[in-house]
Amino acid sequence: MRRTSPLSCVRITRRSFAAGAGAAGLLAATGTANVARAQSGPLKVGVLLPRSGAQAGIGQDCQRGVELAPAMFKALGLPELAIMNADTETNVEVARARAEKLINDGAQLLVGAFDSGQSAAIAQVAEQKGIPFVINIAAAPQITEQGYKFVFRNFPTAPMILSDAFANQMELFEATGAAPKSVVFMHANDTFGTSMQQGINAVFPRFNMPYKIVEQIAYDATARDLSVEVAKAKATGADALLMVSRLNDAILITRELVKQRWSPMIVLSMGPGWYEDQYLKTLGKLSDGPMSFVPWYDPNKTLAQQLEAALAKAYPGINMNTNHVFTFEALLVAADAYKRARSSDPKALADAIRTTNITDNVSIGPGIQFNDKGQDDKLKNAAIQNRGGKLLTVAPKAASNAKPELPMRPYDRRG
C-alpha cells in the first residue's frame, strides 16, 4: 500500500480495445443483435477494480467476471460493451483520479470497485459528472444513502447480509435440529468487519436466535499471527464461532483451531475467506464444514448454470463465487439498460437502469431491480457450505442444492 504513487492514468489496454473491436466485427458478421445496430456502436464502460495493492487478488478475480461477459451477452442478444479497464490500486485517491480519467476518455458508464471507500470516491465523481455508476461489490450502507441519482448498487448492504444470515441460520437450525447455545464473534478490524460488527449490534436483537454472543473479539486485519485471538475465543467456552474475516485470516484461524485442538460445533462466516479457492486448496480436508452466509448465485437459475459452465471452461478448477457473479451482473445491468434506452446518453441510461427488471439473472432473489435510492433491496443471500472442495448451497431452501451438515466433523477426526 505504501508503494502507490499519488496518481496514474488509466490503462486502456490495446488488448481490451482489440477484443471489443473484434467482438463487434464478429457481431456484424453474424448478423445478430439488430438492437445493437440501432445505437451508435458499443457502449463504453469503464471498469474500476483494485488490480494492484492489497486487494489485487480480489480485483483480478472480479476481472474474470468481466472476461466472461462479452461471449455470454452475445448469446443473450444483448448489445456490445467496449470495456475500459482501470486500476484503483486499492487507493481512494487513485480510484477518484482514474474515474475522472475514464470519463474524460469517453466512458459512458462506470462499473466497480469492490471496496466501499473507493466506491464512495468514484460515486461522487460519477454523480457530479452525471455518469451512471453501477457498483458491483461494496457493503457500506452509506453509499446509497446520499441521495445520488446516478449511483446504483446491485449488492446487499451489510445490514441486509446480516438479516439474511440470521434468517438462514434459523432455517438451518430447524432443518438439522441442531443449534449452538453460545457463540463467540470474531471479526477483522477493517472497513468490512467493523461495518458488520456495527450492523450486528443493531440487527441481532430483532431475531430470536437460539444462541447468545458471549464475546466479541476484534483482531488486526493485517495480523500475521492469530494464536492469541483463537486462544481467547477458545477460552470463552462457546459452542460455535461467528466470523467476519478475509481469506488470510480464515486460513490462519483454521490452522490455529487445529493446533489448539478446538473444534467448534460450526463456523458461521458472514463474509469472504472461508469458501475461497485458496482456502480450500491450502487446507484440503480441513477446509470442510464452515458455512458462509454471503451474496451468492442461485444454482437453480439457468443463467447461473450457463455462467458456471463458461467459467469452468475458461478457468478450470476455479469455483464460481461472489466476485465473478456480481461483477458479471453489473455489466449485465449496463448492457440491459443500453438495450432498453436505445441511447448512450448518460441520463437516458440512468433512467433505464432505474427501471431495470432482469428476472433471468444469476444472483438469488426475484431478479435485479433498484429502489429509488439506487439500491437493489430485493437481493437475497445464501448459506453455502464447504464439502469435498466444492461449495454447496444449503439455504434458503428455494435456492439450495444440498443438505446442510451440522455440526461439522471435528478437525481431529478427518483422517
Binding site: 505504501r2 489485487a56 478490524n189 500475521r224 499471527d225 489448539q260 485458496q278
Partner: protein
C-alpha cells in the same frame, strides 16, 4: 480465564518473539556497526521468505534445514548492496540513506509482486498442524522448532562475534571507527562483510519465519518497523539485547491481546517503544553511546 490460557499465550508469544529477535539481530549488527538506517530490512526478510518457499516447492527441503543456504544467498545480496550501493551514503545525512533504502525497498516489493503475485504464500510441512501436550499446555510444534533453530543460530553468531578474529574485528569497527582504521583494519571491506552478515541473519530468520507466517510482497514494511522497535527496545549494538527485545515485544503483544482487544495490541509495542525512547534510549542492554 484459566491459568493455562495465559501460560499458553505467554509461551506462544515468547517463541514467536524469538524468531523476530533473530531478524532484529541482523538489524542490530547493520545499524550498530555500519550505522546505516536500513529501511529495507523487512523487504530483505521478505526476499528470504520467498526464497525459502521457492526452494521448498522445488526441492521439498524443510525450511529449517534451508536456513543455511538462504542465509548464504542473503549474505551475498547484503554484501553486494553495501559495497555497491550503500557505501557512499554512510557519511551522508540520515534522510539521504533513508531515501536510498526506501527506493530499494520499493523496487524489491514490486519485483516480488511481479514475480510471485499478490496472493499469500506459505509452506505446509508435515508438522504444520502438530502441537505438543505438556500437562495443561498445548504448545504449537512449529513454534517450538522455529524457536529452537533460532537459539542455535543466535548462539553460533554470538560465538562468532566473541571468539572469531573476524568477529572481533567487526566489533572493533563498531566500538571505535578511527581506532580500527589506525590498527590497519580494512574498514570498507569489513562494512560490506558486516552488512552481509546482518543480511544472513535476516536470511536465516526469514527461512524460519516462513513456517509461522504467510508471506505477501507487502509484508516488508511491517517487518521493518518491528525490527526497529525490537532493536531500539533491546538496545543498539547488543545482540543479546536484540533477542531479549524480541522476547519482550512478543510477550507484550501476546499478553496485551489477551487482556485487551487484540486489534489494539500493537499499540502496546508502540507505547513501550515511546517509553524506552524517552527514559532509556540506549535500550535495555545497550551501551550509552548517544
Amino acid at each position: 480465564m484459566a491459568a493455562e490460557v495465559y501460560l499458553n499465550v505467554a509461551v506462544s508469544g515468547l517463541l514467536t518473539g524469538l524468531v523476530y529477535g533473530l531478524m532484529a539481530v541482523g538489524l542490530s549488527v547493520i545499524f550498530g556497526v555500519v550505522r546505516v538506517v536500513n529501511f529495507a530490512h523487512g523487504e530483505m526478510m521478505t526476499v528470504a521468505m520467498y526464497l525459502a518457499i521457492a526452494l521448498f516447492n522445488s526441492l521439498g527441503l524443510d525450511p529449517l534445514v534451508m536456513a543455511v543456504p538462504v542465509a548464504g544467498v542473503l549474505f551475498a545480496l547484503g554484501y553486494v548492496m553495501q559495497a555497491g550501493l550503500i557505501n557512499p551514503f554512510i557519511t551522508r545525512p540520515e534522510y539521504s540513506q533513508f531515501m536510498l533504502l526506501i527506493a530499494v525497498a520499493i523496487i524489491i516489493v514490486n519485483v516480488l509482486l511481479i514475480v510471485f503475485g499478490p496472493d499469500a504464500r506459505n509452506v505446509q510441512t508435515s508438522y504444520a498442524f502438530d502441537s505438543f501436550l505438556l500437562g495443561p499446555l498445548i504448545i504449537d510444534a512449529t513454534k517450538v522448532y522455529a524457536g529452537g533453530a533460532t537459539l542455535v543460530i543466535t548462539a553460533a553468531l554470538f560465538a562468532f562475534f566473541r571468539f572469531a578474529p573476524l568477529g572481533k574485528a567487526i566489533r572493533a569497527c563498531a566500538d571505535n571507527y578511527t581506532g580500527a582504521l589506525v590498527v590497519g583494519l580494512n574498514v570498507k571491506r569489513l562494512y560490506a562483510l558486516t552488512f552481509g552478515l546482518g543480511a544472513a541473519c535476516v536470511g536465516a530468520a526469514g527461512s524460519i519465519l516462513v513456517l509461522l507466517v504467510d508471506v505477501t510482497p507487502a509484508l516488508g514494511p511491517a517487518l521493518t518497523l518491528l525490527a526497529f522497535i525490537i532493536v531500539i527496545t533491546g538496545g543498539l549494538g547488543s545482540m543479546v539485547g536484540a533477542v531479549l527485545g524480541g522476547l519482550l515485544i512478543g510477550f507484550t503483544e501476546a499478553m496485551a491481546g489477551l487482556f485487551f482487544t487484540p486489534s489494539a495490541k500493537s499499540m502496546f509495542s508502540f507505547g513501550l517503544l515511546v517509553l524506552v525512547l524517552l527514559f532509556r534510549p540506549q535500550g535495555i542492554l545497550g551501551k550509552r553511546v548517544l
